[in-house]
Symmetry: C2
Subunit: 196 residues, 2 copies
């Protein structure tokens, strides 16, 4: 065990997430980043291969977190209501606890080169398809309205969850779990076939 459990590389990613989220990827220079880490610009290249590697790594980590959080729910034996509730809880938790990298992900992933762009686009669609499947399952079980447009309903849920990166700030009046609960309570009536 080292005094710090973070490797230098992890420190670089962390500070890069912060700067990229605040100023944007292109507006952040490698010298800015190096200065924040107490080193010279050129020294960064002893640890990383280039600027785009930073963006790729940050964005990939962000999509991985959503995937890791939602995947177990896919096959979970839960009612559609509870699954939605839990999905929103972990989804918003991922954003709240990794706000910088989530922000970089939402703002900058499209600026990745084509080879990474496609991978991330796939990952993104996995999350959206999770909510589509959830809505579809709810309809099939007779719990959600049969008249729902599956795609639009999924996007509506995703809109609400993802938008939290815009306004959520640590130390605010509502904890991440509280936000998810209030959101779920507001969304469910529009999804349910009959209110209980």
């Amino acid at each position: 065990m080292q005094p710090s459990t973070k490797t230098r590389k992890e420190q670089i990613y962390e500070v890069a997430s912060e700067l990229f989220s605040q100023r944007g990827y292109h507006a952040t220079s490698m010298r800015d980043l190096a200065a924040r880490l107490g080193m010279q610009g050129g020294s960064l290249y002893a640890h990383i291969s280039g600027k785009e590697e930073l963006l790729v790594e940050i964005v990939t980590q962000a999509t991985d977190r959503f995937d890791t959080a939602l995947r177990p729910l896919r096959t979970a034996q839960m009612s559609p209501q509870d699954k939605l509730r839990e999905a929103l809880r972990v989804h918003i938790q991922v954003i709240a606890t990794h706000l910088d990298s989530a922000t970089v992900f939402f703002h900058e992933w499209q600026h990745l080169g084509p080879e990474y762009y496609n991978k991330v686009a796939e990952r993104r669609d996995v999350v959206e398809s999770f909510y589509r499947d959830l809505v579809r399952e709810g309809i099939e079980k007779g719990v959600f309205r049969a008249t729902l447009d599956v795609k639009i309903a999924a996007i509506l849920i995703l809109s609400v969850a993802n938008w939290t990166y815009i306004w959520y700030r640590e130390g605010g009046p509502l904890k991440s779990d509280d936000i998810a609960r209030v959101y779920t309570d507001m969304l469910l009536p529009g999804l349910l076939a009959q209110l209980v």
Copy 2:
């Protein structure tokens, strides 16, 4: 009347909106922009004062459109349900018909210098306060649930409306008005005190 109703300046803003929305503000060079307009980089400065003027103008126009669309509804004599429906309709219409500048607004306004940043932040809050007032009015009239958290409810509505800039594309299966209608139908049950 000229053959084109657009001034050269308006053309510059339009192409800048397109490039900024696709590549990002900082990743777009003035030479890129000039080339798309069939001129040399330096020639742009015969029409505009600098790069930031472009961003300021695009972002200001975007906020103006939301303001212009929603302002008449503030004092409109309508039921809260109808007001929400109409608000979402015009809100999403603004995004759909000016997708490039809306995208630039959402992605880049924070990168404006402090003097413009504050102005835009105010404009942004005017839109959010519109939805807060709408929710509050609905509660006071007994139409919306008294248990609603006004701020969170407003943000939820705003999330759904704003997120359309991410996925809406012209020529898709749903027109802007259709999206707004389906969204309203899904959101209202969670807001209403009793379903009608």
